[in-house]
Amino acid sequence: MAIKQTEIEKLATLSRLQIDEKTIADVSERLSSVLSLVDQLQGADTSSVKQISRPYHQSQRLRDDVVTESNQRDAFQEIAPDTHSDLFTVPKMID
């Protein structure tokens, strides 16, 4: 299945990626090749099976509602690109 250039641009936006215009044709061709591979699924008879999201049945374990984590702000901020006081800073997003 061929994927159109407009769809590549939309996918890039959803994925928070930036695709160079010079490479869009190449990206489109390679993505289309992968989609042709996965299109083979359409021929499968799945009328008798449900969707499974994990390899075998597992239930979500629950734990007691008590605090178990310690405050590691300093350790986490030490490896951050930019911080100010107790905050992680990013470029302005609200005018």
Binding site: L31, V38, L41, V49, P55, P81
Partner: protein
């Protein structure tokens, strides 16, 4: 010392034939001298290793020596290591120093192992050749112009070149078994949920599993004893008793039924690989096992299903890499959106970006049911094939890879050609079963791997079968040239 197996090194340390400092220094020297040929190790933790070795020697002298006390190992650079860069083979994490250890790393620390460093890998575990790493490709020690396999190519090459007796690795679609096969070593992917994924950088959360790489099945059993544990920090970790995987290694295989899937011996399998695998299967028959032809009818759908499910999960998991709290951030972003887009486009390589976009596409409105929903149903078909097969057989065996190690760049520009390298391994991940690859022959001076698949949580039988094969053959003892 580097020609000893891990089991022999454990005994040598306990018997004080050599010290951990001597052993660790030996391997550090080998890495310094030989690693430039392979590019298998990307971070060496020399000072930490020697400090840990010294402490291990003190424990051994005091008579307190846990299972792996003083044994040097390498960790795939996907496991968070406190205070030591963990890059996942990516520019995105080139500057990432974790503030904690993965549970796998903690388990080895608990058991006294000495960390030599971190191994090279395909970026974010996405690849089958170790050609996508930000740190450059890894060369196969058996043929320097050929790939070691991936994504755990660095770990596999390091063990094959005797830069370490063992290494940790991970497997999402074959990333332990395929490089083990191409590098002529033993590698095990345990049952999903057997080994904690806490601190293991996530690629596809319902498929990822950590496992050992070493030169023998016995070594893998020793390592799995340390790696396997229940971990309440991993919600998919299974709370069941971890057996002693060494205890049953010497059980006889007489009477065991081995299923041979007809779909694994069809078009596309290299003739030399097939001959080597058939010869190996005959060895199991000679030991009293019975070979039974079986069918896994949905096998052909495993690669298409995987390349919906794995990228979909990856697109979610990799959304955390946004330049905000850790890792790479682009220079001079003009606003938040620009920061996200340029950070991710500059930080991720081409294959990672491709898989994120495939995953996003398959999960997007209008395509979710046709792709992701459908793939999840096919996953159940694949799992049912195995459940049905294991009603009549104890193990399933076949080739690990369709051919021996291929040359760099030979898969060209079509990503699908590379994806098909995992044609025999992927179904095991989709079903969550344990699988192992062991060396079983050579073709054109390159190793061939035999895959052994077990039933859920039956790693003991998988390792038992592998060990018994290694008692009557010597493929696992062979070494590439140029490593002395």
């Amino acid at each position: 010392m580097h020609n000893h197996t891990l089991a022999e090194l454990v005994n040598g340390l306990r018997n004080k034939t050599f010290t951990s400092v001597e052993l660790t220094t030996h391997f550090l020297t080998r890495i310094e001298q030989l690693n430039p040929n392979y590019n298998a190790v990307i971070t060496v933790t020399r000072d930490q290793a020697l400090d840990a070795a010294s402490k291990a020697d003190q424990r051994i002298a005091a008579g307190d020596s846990p299972a792996l006390c003083g044994v040097p190992i390498l960790h795939k650079d996907i496991f968070c290591t406190h205070g030591v860069r963990t890059s996942c083979g990516s520019k995105m994490l080139d500057n990432f120093v974790p503030p904690y250890n993965a549970t796998v790393v903690e388990n080895f620390h608990r058991d006294g192992a000495v960390m030599l460093g971190k191994t090279n890998m395909d970026e974010f575990a996405m690849g089958s050749s170790n050609e996508t790493s930000f740190y450059g490709p890894v060369n196969n020690p058996w043929a320097l112009d050929s790939v070691p396999g991936g994504s755990s190519g660095g770990s596999a090459a390091a063990v094959a070149a005797r830069l370490a007796p063992a290494a940790t690795a991970t497997d999402t679609g074959g990333s332990i078994r395929q490089p083990a096969a191409l590098c002529g070593i033993s590698g095990l992917k345990p049952t999903y949920g057997r080994v904690s994924r806490w601190g293991m950088i996530a690629f596809a959360s319902s498929l990822d599993q950590a496992g050992p790489m070493a030169r023998t099945a016995e070594d893998c059993a020793i390592l799995l004893n340390s790696m396997a544990s229940f971990d309440d920090k991993d919600s998919t970790s299974v709370d069941s008793v971890v057996p002693d995987y060494c205890a049953s290694l010497n059980n006889p295989l007489k009477g065991k039924k081995i299923g041979i899937p007809r779909e694994y011996f069809s078009e596309g399998l290299h003739a030399g690989t097939e001959r080597a695998v058939q010869k190996a299967l005959a060895e199991f028959e000679a030991q009293g096992a019975k070979l039974v032809e079986i069918s896994l009818p949905s096998s052909a759908l495993s690669v298409p299903a995987y390349y919906v499910i794995a990228p979909a999960e990856a697109s979610a998991n990799l959304s955390r890499f946004d330049g905000v709290k850790y890792g790479y951030r682009c220079d001079n972003p003009k606003d938040l959106q620009d920061m996200y887009c340029r950070t991710r486009s500059e930080g991720f390589g081409e294959e990672v970006q491709r898989r994120i976009m495939i995953g996003t596409y398959c999960l997007s409105a209008g395509y979710y049911d046709a792709y992701y929903g459908k793939a999840q149903q096919v996953r159940q078909l694949i799992q049912q094939d195995f459940v049905e097969a294991f009603k009549s057989v104890d193990l399933i065996m076949g080739p690990t890879c369709p051919s021996p190690a291929f040359k760099f760049g030979s898969k060209g520009d079509d990503p699908v050609a590379m994806y098909l390298e995992d044609i025999y391994t992927i179904a095991t991940n989709l079903a969550g079963l344990p699988g192992m690859s062991i060396p079983c022959g050579m073709v054109d001076s390159k190793p061939v791997g035999l895959q052994i698949i077990g039933n859920y949580f039956d790693e003991s039988l998988v390792l038992n079968a592998a060990h018994q094969f290694q008692q009557i053959t010597d493929w696992h003892t062979q070494a590439p040239e140029g490593i002395e």
